[in-house]
């Protein structure tokens, strides 16, 4: 909130950093959103004022009859009552001290002409009262370090900001990031974006010191030029990963009936993303995984990838995937191969991709990791392990060896793992992830993520020169 931040930052900040929040539509009924939101708010670090006409206490908390009864001025009001009541609430929001409201309620432009009219009414009422609104028809906003103003789960603390045009999908993505233990800085679902729009939130995330990476799910755009400019500005400061919905013709139609927004021409959109210096994610899963890699690891200096495996087959798959995605599989320095020859089994394959063979354990993973990270021909490292359940090896020794190798070299090259063997590989995988080394189940996904951070590194460099 420093004065050097642009106006839009200060306009948007109270949505993410409120001190006192009122909830209109608090409910004792666990089947209602007003109950879930209250439960989330009560486990937050801020003062909460539930508003309800039907109960005196909900979830053990004192309830107020209306916004005007709240003893202290609030700075954010969350609204979860029927659409028809929303426009009239705007003046009360302002009187309660707030210039910011999140309208969770649905039943607006997404439902047809009548809803559209109601939404216009809401916007006019909000403008007249001097209230900025997020929504309507949205999941809400959460700030993992402060409060959860949604009806979905609170994400783990982290550095990735999540901006979703689809509310439910955005909400589900939080569950996924929790299951994968990926930290989120802030989450925003903008719903119908009647007032605060995509670009406003994007500008906010660009200026947010807690956000290192921005993940975007987008379907249609209203003001493409503005979006492009905003993406281009932001991508020079932090990586932006975009998943675009509504690509196929059938998907395109689904978009029209979904958030009531327009879906841009796919090819123009794809060109725009590159021109703006952002990277695109092909799938929901990869959107999160690419962001995780950006968050955990440094950017590569080039596109040469070193590959280590204890199974020749997985090494081949990784090589195929990496080269099909535009990464190069370089030859190693003769010094590197000479040392590998001394350390590894005579059965090992010491050209890139390296196969330490099944007998390779902690020591082999450590030394090979060290040698490859020290090789000037290698810009990034992919380590694969099919964890053996034989020959007396432990489930985590390969991961431990790799980790020791990474630590002893202290390189600034990105490193990822691919731990095969399902549950047997899980402890090793967890060990790597806990140490901020992304670890995948499939060589293709690992290569895809690597190719995306490489693309971004290139785009960033390109900006520096242009």
């Amino acid at each position: 909130m420093s004065s050097s931040k642009p106006d839009i930052y200060n306009d948007v900040d109270p949505f993410f950093n409120p001190r006192r929040v009122a909830l209109v539509g608090a409910s004792t009924d666990y089947r209602k959103l007003g109950n879930s939101i209250l439960m989330n708010l009560l486990s937050s670090e801020i003062e909460i004022y539930p508003i309800s006409k039907s109960s005196d206490r909900i979830l053990g908390t004192k309830v107020y009859r209306s916004l005007s009864e709240i003893p202290n001025p609030v700075d954010l009001v969350i609204i979860a009552v029927s659409a028809k009541y929303c426009p009239d609430l705007m003046a009360e929001v302002k009187q309660a001290g707030a210039s910011h409201a999140i309208v969770i309620s649905g039943g607006f432009s997404e439902t047809g002409p009548q809803g559209f009219e109601l939404e216009q009414k809401l916007v006019i009422a909000a403008k007249k009262a001097g209230v900025r609104i997020v929504g309507p028809n949205c999941v809400g906003i959460s700030n993992s370090r402060l409060f959860n103003g949604t009806f979905t789960m609170m994400p783990e603390r982290g550095n990735i900001a999540l901006l979703s045009q689809s509310g439910a999908l955005g909400g589900m993505m939080i569950y996924t990031t929790r299951a994968k233990r990926i930290g989120i800085s802030k989450f925003a679902s903008i719903g119908n974006a009647a007032d605060i729009g995509f670009v406003d939130i994007l500008e906010y995330f660009r200026n947010d010191p807690r956000t290192k990476v921005i993940a975007i799910y987008i379907e249609g755009v209203e003001n493409g030029k503005k979006l492009f400019e905003s993406l281009r500005r932001a991508s020079r400061e932090k990586p932006i990963v975009i998943l675009k919905g509504g690509r196929s013709e059938a998907g395109g139609r689904a978009t029209q009936s979904h958030t009531g927004s327009l879906a841009g021409e796919t090819r123009v959109f794809d060109g725009m993303v590159k021109q703006a210096g952002c990277v695109s994610a092909p799938t929901l899963d990869s959107l999160i995984e690419i962001c995780k890699l950006f968050d955990y690891q440094p950017l590569p200096k080039g596109r040469n990838i070193g590959i280590i495996s204890n199974t020749g087959g997985a090494g081949v798959l990784a090589t195929d995937a990496a080269s099909s995605l535009g990464l190069a599989i370089p030859s190693l320095e003769s010094e590197t191969t000479r040392e590998l020859r001394q350390v590894l089994s005579p059965m090992a394959s010491i050209g890139n991709p390296i196969d330490v063979v099944a007998s390779g354990g902690r020591r082999e993973y450590r030394v090979t990791t060290e040698l490859l990270l020290s090789d000037p021909n290698v810009d990034m490292l992919l380590v694969i392990c099919a964890v053996p359940t034989f020959a007396g090896m432990t489930q985590t020794e390969h991961a431990a060896g790799m980790l020791e190798g990474v630590r002893s070299v202290e390189s600034d090259k990105p490193v990822v793992g691919v731990w095969l063997s399902g549950d047997v590989g899980k402890p090793g995988k967890d060990l790597l992830e806990m140490n901020r080394i992304p670890c995948y189940d499939d060589p293709f996904l690992a290569s895809l993520c690597m190719s995306k951070i490489t693309e971004y590194a290139y785009l960033l460099q390109r900006h520096a020169h242009s």
Partner: protein, 248 residues
């Protein structure tokens, strides 16, 4: 650019949302785009004089505010090698255009005669185009011509205006990019000249936002150092009087 504005005004005053080929090429020349030598002629004699100035072989095309799709109207004659062929072609084009008008039940204006241009030597065929996206505004397209664009849809877009790095990326990122490196013993194509044309189109549209669509199709790219030629050019403009102007 003043020239473009004047041409667009004339077109609209004649009820056209397309500009005639020599007009399109006049505008493109102003923006430094390489165009094969051309002229116009209203009589057969005139056409012969212009053709010899340009140098054989030449191409003749109908120039009329009433004909957008010239080939459909029998209004294009290629690879004319001497005065006689030009004279015959001129008469034939006029007759075809007249008949085309009769079939369509319109009176075709023949007063502008024909467009004459050098018959360009075949190069690697590419297409550079402009479209107006409802969300993103003007976007420029690049692709290899013929089957690559028509069947494989191997094209790429950027928003206008774009920078040189963007233009270079467009050329690199189509799937058939390797063809521009030279295949089957050919020398690499003149990508630098191609990038300049892409940037010129971007500048032209940026300065003349009333442009709705552009096709530079085909554009021939020659080997490195030998440049590019925009062989056929079409510019479609907005009709400020119509709510939504039809583009074709």
């Amino acid at each position: 650019m003043k020239l473009a504005k004047k041409i667009f005004e004339t077109a609209l005053s004649e009820g056209r949302t397309f500009v005639l080929e020599h007009e399109a090429k006049d505008i493109m020349k102003e923006y430094g785009m390489p165009i094969p030598a051309y002229g116009t002629a209203t009589t057969a004699d005139d056409a012969v004089t212009k053709a010899s100035e340009i140098g054989y072989p030449v191409v003749l095309k109908i120039l009329s505010k009433d004909i957008l799709h010239k080939t459909d109207a029998g209004g294009v004659k290629l690879n004319l090698k001497n005065d006689d062929e030009v004279r015959d072609a001129f008469e034939e084009i006029m007759a075809n255009a007249k008949r085309y008008g009769e079939e369509k039940g319109i009176e075709v204006d023949l007063s502008r005669g024909v467009f004459i241009t050098q018959f360009a030597e075949m190069g690697t065929e590419v297409i550079i185009g402009v479209t107006k996206d409802p969300q993103f505004g003007h976007a420029i397209m690049f692709g290899l011509g013929g089957i690559f664009v028509e069947v494989l849809k191997d094209v790429t877009f950027r928003l206008i205006p774009l920078e040189e790095v963007d233009a270079r990326e467009m050329v690199r990122e189509i799937k058939a990019a390797k063809i521009l490196d030279g295949v089957r013993g050919e020398d690499p194509r003149d990508v630098d000249a191609l990038v300049k044309v892409i940037l010129a189109v971007s500048k032209m549209v940026d300065e003349n936002p009333e442009i709705n669509e552009i096709d530079c199709n085909p554009t021939f790219v020659y080997e490195r150092g030998k440049g590019v030629l925009v062989v056929d050019a079409r510019i479609l403009i907005d009709n400020p009087n119509a709510k939504s102007s039809s583009s074709h």
